[in-house]
C-alpha cells in the first residue's frame, strides 16, 4: 500500500543528541512529507521532499529520500525537549496516507 511505515516505533534520547527516524513505503510517489504531532494537538507539516530530490534541509531537520529503496529518513540534530512528539511520514502518490508514527521522547 502507499502507507508509510515508520521505524522505530519509539525512540528515547537525551537532549543534544541526534534523532533519526526511518520511513518505508511500497508504491511510487510524487513526494513524501513529514509531520509532527504534539500530544493532544493536530499534525504540523515539517518538510516535503519531491520524488526527484535526494536530500532536503530545514533548520535542524534533514530529510533524505531513496526512491530505489522506497525509503526516507528524518534526522533531527541537536534535539531539544520541545522536540518530544510523534513524527509521521506520508508518502504521496495520489492521496496522502499516514503511517503509525515514531514517538520521540527527548529527555532534558
Amino acid at each position: 500500500s502507499q502507507q508509510g511505515e515508520e521505524d522505530p516505533q519509539a525512540l528515547s534520547i537525551q537532549e543534544g543528541e541526534n534523532a533519526t527516524m526511518n520511513c518505508s513505503y511500497k508504491t511510487s510517489i510524487n513526494n513524501l512529507q513529514w509531520y509532527r504531532q504534539n500530544s493532544g494537538r493536530g499534525l504540523v507539516h515539517l518538510i516535503l521532499i519531491r520524488s526527484n530530490e535526494r536530500e532536503k534541509h530545514s533548520g535542524r531537520l534533514r530529510v533524505t529520500l531513496d526512491t530505489s529503496k522506497k525509503s526516507s529518513s528524518l534526522l533531527i540534530t541537536a534535539s531539544r525537549a520541545a522536540d518530544t512528539a510523534s513524527y509521521f511520514c506520508a508518502p504521496a502518490g495520489g492521496k496522502l496516507i499516514f503511517g503509525q508514527g515514531t514517538e520521540l521522547s527527548v529527555k532534558p
Partner: protein, 116 residues
Amino acid sequence: EAGVAQSPRYKIIEKRQSVAFWCNPISGHATLYWYQQILGQGPKLLIQFQNNGVVDDSQLPKDRFSAERLKGVDSTLKIQPAKLEDSAVYLCASSGRGGGQNEKLFFGSGTQLSVL
C-alpha cells in the same frame, strides 16, 4: 493567518447516540479532509472534499458516518448511531490551491470523541 478551526474540542456520548463535528478551514483553501485518529495510530482519511464535491470517501463507514461541505467552506461530520469503536480524535485539515499532490496539509487541533 487564522488556522483550521474545529469544534467542539471534546465530546462524550453514549453508544447509539449521534454526534456532529464542525470544521472551518483556512480561508481560500479548496480542499478539506476529515481524518480519524485512534489512540496510538496514525490518522486515517475518512473523506476528502474539493470545494463542495467529494473526491474520496472510500474509507468512510457510510452506514453511520456522513459529511457535508455546503458552499465549499465549512464542513460537518456526523456519526449516527455511534459505536464504542468510534472513540478517537477527529481531525480536520485543509490544503490550498486544489489538493494537488505537492501540497502540504494544515490541521486543526481535533475533536476528541469518547463513546461510553
